[in-house]
């Protein structure tokens, strides 16, 4: 108990044995793996709920469920995907990669790291258990607008509130840990402008998390007291305002969507140079663009609220600020393309995912820009056009980058190679089906189909049918993905330490399967310069 375990004597003791290893672990790789598996399971659960949504929407009429249950599906799908799948997956990637990338032995606060993870299954469990409660699971959308979520919500809402508290707590601890790791555990010879972009984007994301998650905690706390202790925050009869809820929620919610995309930008900024065999174009402008996006994300929140009856001046301001985000995001897109320009490209699985990320995310960004035009948002708001927008940025953006990252770093995590042929089949399967799934939703939205409805008029039938078929096909692609990953872990061929010859980064200087504690002695200046993206 009292013997110090300095990193230098770690090769004497590897991980503990048995199940308790995972419960007690303070190792960033173990915790990273826990996060990734948790996220993957939640992705399957959230996806299964989405399959429920698509099945009910396959044809007009109510076939499978009660409308209230449909709303629960939509709500829980959104919540589980955002808080259970995408965010934990990125924290998992951060855990795995950041210490390796900055030349550190482990995370700065390893015991707290364990706690950030081990809150999640409890929070997720509480959230999922609401399905089995009297009155059903929360059914007010992942944005839980008051008063539908206060006066008019089932009892299970209080459990949902506490689950959100726990999730927020976990995210804040995770973010603090990453900040401390990047700022304090970085190899002494590594300057800030030597840091790989994934580290930069995560550092900036951490500030978004610490700024935004506590505000969410405040919002749900006010909901809790409005529901149970008679306060009037969101109730006009006591001088409050339901729209105030939306302001507080979106002050969190908008930074939240960038929390889900900035690390994705980081991932792509690693993969494209590797497979273009060319240094990343515009390293420093990438860093500044990321920071600008993060800053702007705090001052545009009310573009989700153009129809709440804000004064015109407010609408104009939020429209202008929102449009501005296109500029730094554009810088990133242009930099990626310049990186590919006159490179020497090959298209292994990670590159396929990264390149298609650039395409599809940009399409999602364009529809975002259209939504940002306040008067036009009158026709788009709360239609499937919005649904199409955010699935393009979230599924073919955030999720795409997570899959790309998984293929890219899987050799480093497992010491083995995945099956490239199968991975290519999976890619084409997924990219075709995902577009069949989400592209028609643009048309549905423009034609006037509101979101969050369990049934629709006949004019929307054809595109919904196409979308659902695409959805089932896309869903089934995850079966193959699961197989590819398990197959890699169990039967993969041994990988080299640097399986992508032109890849840069300190992580590739480690053993093929990265050792339990990454860097026992900090890397030298020379090594850092060699492996820097900013060369």
């Amino acid at each position: 108990m009292t013997t110090a375990t300095a990193s230098h004597d770690d090769h004497h003791h590897g991980p503990e044995k048995g199940l308790m290893r995972w419960v007690k672990t303070t190792n960033h790789k173990d915790i990273g793996s826990l996060y990734m598996w948790f996220a993957f399971i939640m992705l399957l659960i959230g996806g299964a709920l989405a399959m429920g949504i698509r099945a009910e929407l396959l044809a007009p009429g109510m076939q499978l469920m009660e409308p209230q249950f449909f709303n629960s599906l939509t709500t829980m799908h959104g919540l589980i995907m955002v808080f259970g799948a995408i965010m934990p997956a990125f924290v998992g990637l951060g855990n795995w990669l950041i210490p390796m990338m900055v030349g550190a032995p482990d995370m700065a606060l390893p015991r707290m790291n364990n706690w950030s993870f081990w809150i999640l299954p409890f929070a997720g469990g509480i959230l999922l258990s609401t399905f089995f409660m009297e009155g059903g699971a929360p059914a007010f959308g992942w944005t839980f607008y008051a008063p539908l979520s206060t006066t008019f919500a089932p009892d299970s809402t209080d459990f949902f509130i506490f689950a959100v508290h726990l999730l927020g707590f976990s995210s804040i601890m995770g973010a603090i840990n990453i900040i401390a790791t990047v700022l304090n555990m970085r190899a002494p010879e590594m300057k800030l402008m030597d840091m790989p972009l994934f580290v930069w984007t995560w550092l900036i994301t951490s500030f978004l998390l610490i700024g935004a998650m506590p505000v969410l905690a405040g919002a749900v706390t006010m909901m809790l007291t409005d529901r149970n202790f008679g306060t009037a925050f969101f109730d006009a009869t006591g001088g409050g305002d339901p729209v105030m809820f939306q302001h507080i929620f979106w002050f969190f919610g908008h930074p939240e969507v960038y929390i889900m995309i900035l690390p994705a930008f980081g991932v792509v900024s690693h993969i494209i140079p590797t497979f273009a065999r060319k240094p990343l174009f515009g390293y420093s402008s990438m860093v500044y663009a990321t920071a600008s996006i993060a800053f702007l994300s705090y001052i545009v929140w009310a573009h989700h609220m153009f129809l709440t009856g804000m004064p015109v001046a407010g609408e104009l301001y939020f429209m202008y600020a929102t449009m501005l985000i296109a500029v730094p995001t554009g810088v990133k897109v242009f930099n990626w393309i310049s990186t590919m320009w006159r490179g020497s490209m090959t298209f292994e699985a990670p590159m396929l995912w990264a390149v298609s990320f650039v395409f599809l995310f940009t399409i999602g960004g364009f529809s975002g820009l259209m939504l940002g035009i306040a008067p036009a948002d009158i026709q788009y708001h709360d239609t499937y056009f919005v649904v199409a927008h955010f699935h393009y940025v979230l599924v073919t953006g955030a999720l795409w980058s997570i899959i790309a990252a998984t293929f890219y770093w899987l050799p480093k995590w497992t010491g083995k190679m995945y099956n490239e042929g199968l991975a290519k089949v999976h890619f084409w399967w997924a990219i075709i089906s995902v577009n069949v799934l989400f592209f028609p939703q643009h048309f549905l939205g423009l034609a006037g189909m509101p979101r969050r409805i369990p049934d629709y008029s006949l004019q929307f039938a054809d595109f919904n049918y196409i979308s659902s078929i695409g959805g089932f096909a896309f869903g089934a692609s995850f079966i193959l993905l699961t197989y590819i990953i398990i197959d890699c872990v169990r039967n993969g061929k041994p990988a080299e330490a640097r399986p992508w010859p032109s890849a840069k980064g300190l992580e590739w200087t480690l053993e093929p399967k990265a050792q339990y504690h990454s860097f026992n002695t900090p890397p030298s200046r020379k090594l850092i310069e060699q492996e820097s993206q900013n060369s």
Partner: protein, 373 residues
């Protein structure tokens, strides 16, 4: 098979205008100046995005084809260019400014309701719309039409027939508006947030409980007809089932409609003064119940416990009439207030609840309701 052909024809003929119209691939142009401005704005931004996409994606695609290792491409090593960075910062800013100018104009125009010559107040309730014409003294509730309701769990055939191809987009009482007149909408809600949206008018506005938002519309003469829309803010269980139907008529027809409505309102007020028989009340009550109450308490009165209590054996329905009247008039928790219904309708529905479903309560007369208000 039919669907497959549809899919193919859509894919093959995406650009032909007939397909645009048939399948609704694009935003409606609508009939008002505002909706047309919005449409123009939408198309402008859309084409700008397409143009940028063409430039950006062709550069990318070209690079992906030409600069491949398998084609023997050798990687260049450049990785910086301040000129390029400046260019692709400044050019987008200019494009954005050019987009913002017309957007600002349209926005300011559509928020200015001062020109309005008449007012309609719209109140969202779970899950129906209430329309009041304060100046004309008209007030009524608009529910999803019964044949659509029946078709929800019916067959495809039922859905085709419902509302003449307007399944789920048809109501019992339509909003009637005159053409050629600027109209102000005052939009609010009694319970949760709803959103009143008619795409063809370019009007979509949140209905916030406790606050009144306004919007306006002027339907140019010559565009008389029926326009449809839906609630566009998640408002609970039946959010998908609270459509909006507006009949736009000429001023003359509108005036006629107004006087008819006023006469009917007077007749209803008179009938509230007479004493009804139990059978009359039960018959009337059944239809009021099925349109207004069955959404939560179910047609057979079994409710959806624990949130929506059953009427069968309900202590309220079998208890004091005064409590029952009070509860329905003023609501309680998630049970909405129904004082916007007329005295006779309320008397009828309360009597119905007290005597149907095996309940044994007293008969309530319109005069009882009136004095309880």
């Amino acid at each position: 098979m039919k669907r497959l052909t549809t899919l193919l024809s859509v894919l093959v003929a995406t650009m032909s205008t007939s397909v645009f119209a048939e399948y609704g691939l694009n935003m409606t142009e609508g009939v008002t100046e505002i909706s047309k401005n919005i449409y123009d704005l939408h198309m402008m931004v859309f084409w700008v995005c397409v143009a940028i996409a063409v430039v950006v994606f062709s550069a990318m695609l070209y690079s992906m084809f030409a600069h491949r290792k398998s084609k023997g491409a050798v990687a260049a090593q450049f990785h910086e260019s301040t000129t390029a960075e400046l260019a692709w910062t400044i050019i987008p800013v200019i494009i954005l400014v050019l987009m913002a100018i017309p957007a600002t104009k349209v926005l300011i125009d559509l928020e200015d309701t001062s020109k309005a010559e008449m007012t309609v107040k719209i109140t969202g309730h779970q899950w129906k719309w209430q329309y009041d014409y304060p100046e004309e003294g008209i007030s009524f509730i608009s529910n999803l039409a019964q044949d659509s309701k029946d078709a929800i769990r019916g067959t495809d055939e039922d859905r085709k027939k419902a509302g003449n191809d307007n399944y789920l987009l048809d109501v019992d009482n339509r909003l009637v508006l005159p053409s050629g007149k600027p109209i102000r909408f005052l939009i609010t809600a009694s319970d949760v947030i709803h959103n009143w949206w008619v795409p063809d008018f370019g009007v979509k506005q949140d209905a916030n409980p406790g606050f009144i938002n306004d919007a306006w519309v002027e339907i140019p003469v010559g565009n008389e007809g029926t326009y449809r829309g839906q609630c566009a803010e998640l408002c609970g269980k039946d959010h998908g089932f609270m459509p909006i139907v507006v009949d736009v008529v000429t001023q003359a027809e509108y005036d006629k409609w107004v006087s008819e409505q006023q006469a009917a309102a007077k007749a209803a007020a008179d009938s509230a003064n007479k004493t009804w028989s139990k059978d009359e009340l039960m018959a009337q009550g059944k239809s009021v119940y099925n349109t207004n109450c069955a959404g939560c308490h179910k047609v057979d009165g079994t409710g959806m416990p624990p949130v929506f209590p059953a009427m069968v054996g309900s202590p309220v329905a079998n208890g004091e009439a005064a409590d029952h009247i009070g509860l329905v008039l003023h609501g309680k928790g998630a049970m909405p207030a129904f004082k916007m219904l007329g005295d006779s309708d309320l008397a009828a529905v309360i009597t119905y609840e007290r005597n149907a479903f095996g309940n044994t309560g007293s008969v309530v007369q319109p005069s009882d309701v009136k004095s309880a208000r």
